[in-house]
Subunit: 193 residues, 2 copies
Amino acid sequence: MDKSNINTYFHSLFPIPEPVVEKITATFCPFTLEKNTVLLDKDTISTKTYFLEQGYVRSYILNEDNEEVTTNIYTAPCFVNDFLSFFKKQPTKEVYQTLTDCTFWETNFDNVQANFHNITEFREFSRLLFVINYYKLNDRLIEMASQKAETRYLNLLKVQPHIFQHVPLKIIASYLGITDSSLSRIRKEISKM
Amino acid sequence: MDKSNINTYFHSLFPIPEPVVEKITATFCPFTLEKNTVLLDKDTISTKTYFLEQGYVRSYILNEDNEEVTTNIYTAPCFVNDFLSFFKKQPTKEVYQTLTDCTFWETNFDNVQANFHNITEFREFSRLLFVINYYKLNDRLIEMASQKAETRYLNLLKVQPHIFQHVPLKIIASYLGITDSSLSRIRKEISKM
DNA sequence: GTAATTTCTTGTCATTTATCAAGTGACTAA
DNA sequence: TTAGTCACTTGATAAATGACAAGAAATTAC
């Protein structure tokens, strides 16, 4: 039960005294999932917060044609949460699935709630987590609206090169908002240069 | 100083006893801005939280070619905030500008902070605001990645028809991630049917 | 280790959207 | 009132990306 990775993650976002972090993570339980396992299925209500310690996870929706559209790719270490489902207790629209073997820590809503209302530093941390996630999403939206696929691909390659070692291209393509054929052609073009 | 609109907005998101809402909004000050005025400029640090009581506001960035890309359109009543700038005290990347004459209420960081740590209901409210904003952004991202411009236009027309009465088409086009010429053609196509 | 399945690439062609330029109508300022 | 600006439309053409199908390469399952 080595929680050093979670604890480090907390410290990295917000300065928190060691004993406080330990109190926050006291209720976190570890578990592992194999590659291609569903962590949280659609139309269910998320009752847990997940900390992804090792591995890759994606979320995806099924569109009108029942095709999977990847909405997010999560890279450890990070929290994986369906905010709407977890905090508003609504069914998820998205499926959360492991892309590699993964190790997680989880805790439930009541624990999060107790920490949120009782521990000043956890409140700040939580808010910061929202701010950062919102900001990342906003950046991706701007990218999607204002840059062409090739630019988005090159940017992902620059910022998260390791993703390409662990995630199939068809999933990356759908995350970039294009088809796998288009991504293949873009890669071919770039390799020529 | 009639705060009934803010108070109603608080109640609509989260059940809060009247005296608590009044305590929360006690520090809010009203002000008005004319059409096409900058509320929050880029490269500045946001020191206020704004509640938009009446009117329309947009945020936009300038891309590499110095063209304005509209990132969000805010419709009263709602909070208008640059989360990253306000909470992490970083310079904004976006410009926030009124699209019509607007009335606002504002309060500063210290007040938000005091309420956040002292008032349980405000904590819940704040978190809910983040959850909802995150969810909206996520929905837009999915739309942008998986649906064509015409579908996105029709959806906006269905969900927020009033925007079309108050916001120039060129701004709506850029919000939809397309050029104004394309939007014009899409509208022409649809009107034929 | 071989068959089955999945992923990736590539070809052809169609669709969507952008670019650029010109023109119209509406609003604005002196 | 008149010139100037801005929003919108439209035309011609080009660029970006998608759809579908076939085959190659990689991975998985037994």
